[in-house]
Symmetry: C2
Amino acid sequence: MTQQQVQQVVAVLGRGVVDPDEPVVSADDLGFTRGDGVFDATRVVIDGSGRRVDNLEAHLARFARSIHLLEGAVPDLDGWRALIEQAVAACPFSGEITLKIMWTRGRESTVTQPLGVLTLTPMTAAAIAQRAGVRVAALQRGLASDAFTDVPWLLGGAKTLSYAVNVAAKREAARRGADDVLFVSSDGYCLEGPTSALVAAFGRRLVATPRGATGILASITQEIAFDAARAAGWDTSDELLRPDQLFEADGAWLLSSVRGAAPILELDRRPLAQNAALTSQIVAWTGF
Amino acid sequence: MTQQQVQQVVAVLGRGVVDPDEPVVSADDLGFTRGDGVFDATRVVIDGSGRRVDNLEAHLARFARSIHLLEGAVPDLDGWRALIEQAVAACPFSGEITLKIMWTRGRESTVTQPLGVLTLTPMTAAAIAQRAGVRVAALQRGLASDAFTDVPWLLGGAKTLSYAVNVAAKREAARRGADDVLFVSSDGYCLEGPTSALVAAFGRRLVATPRGATGILASITQEIAFDAARAAGWDTSDELLRPDQLFEADGAWLLSSVRGAAPILELDRRPLAQNAALTSQIVAWTGF
């Protein structure tokens, strides 16, 4: 196997690193047939100074929380740590790499264990280029901003493998000439991107979408940025914003653990305020 | 391989029948990592009179429609027909069997073909027993009954692999002592079950949930039953019903291609009208 052929590293919990072209998921795995599983993702950086996984413990904690929301058994996080360490050590790529960890309920036809799989994939140039800014399409999500109150079966806050709507929304954005999506609730509030969180700045105050009733995913990158911002004397708050309010902000960003903080250049083709110093500050607070 | 060991038949488009314990889905297959794929399911009956697949062409047509809604390429239905024929011929089980066909967008890390997989799995005794009737929990779906108007990215009407909410709702039903779920829209209308369609009878009139704006899946079993009912001189209509209206009906059923028509015994522990002759009539109209 030369580096040219290998597109990714694949490892399976309980087995270790496997041939990346070897299928590892059974036809009746419930994560495949029903999207009945969860994932989490973060960035791995491999360079002259070593190999590091960004915010691993926070991602493992969120991963465990997602599994809990799907009523899975408590995962063996030590086993996951060892598998990740082994896979990262075996990784033939350098630079920025996406680590994705996935858990499924396991096979339907036989009484078996849950399945744990991870992949390491080099970040694409296109994803890295989006750090300079993204054009965003606001797309209706169909759910009210309080739709997730007292309805745990809607799986609010869980990062599930059932992301078909998220990828369909990204295709719709591309059709509209945009790079990414901002989901909007049926009552007209900004929610999140398909794989990112929204942050807006108003003076020395950062605003994020509230969790809980909105069903959005708790963003580790946003939490880290807000902690750093508060340490620097800024205010932070969780507030529902209407898309129109983003045009009054000093800036707005989509944050993710892999791409970092990408300034929103325009929303539905209408420009948002840009401030390079402010973006640099946000990026620094995210730890990128 | 003895029949005792084999829990299912697995076949892959372009390959044919494979060892049922051989994983066939790659770790980076988008159907696995994102639920970015579709499926369809129907019943196969293998008995002394032969091997037959129920309503195969209608299911292939709906499968192709689901793929189209996800913007996949037109599937090779002749290839699917041949694969299904081969798998059914090789099937070691008899009685009633669930055929599931699945399509995914393929692997993310390499430029590849979509993946096509099918499974044949014997129906469980529990599923067959539910034909005698199901206790149903009404669960909020969070979306209004017109939420799918002009928002194709929400994938209304597509039978996707992103069914995590559907299975979470079934777990919630079990916790409530129920066998199945009736999803209710945020504005209070009956929608569908996680894997079934609702039909209610009022005199010589059958009512089903409208498609389109509700986002529900077009039910092949319901369409077949309605065609037969009209041929028998009954009226049929698509109407939004409130859960309370089901208690005024002469009966209500959850219809699926595998389980057939199961009378709803009770909704949220409150009994619905039962009429064995009427249920027999509905079952006959579904072709079961």
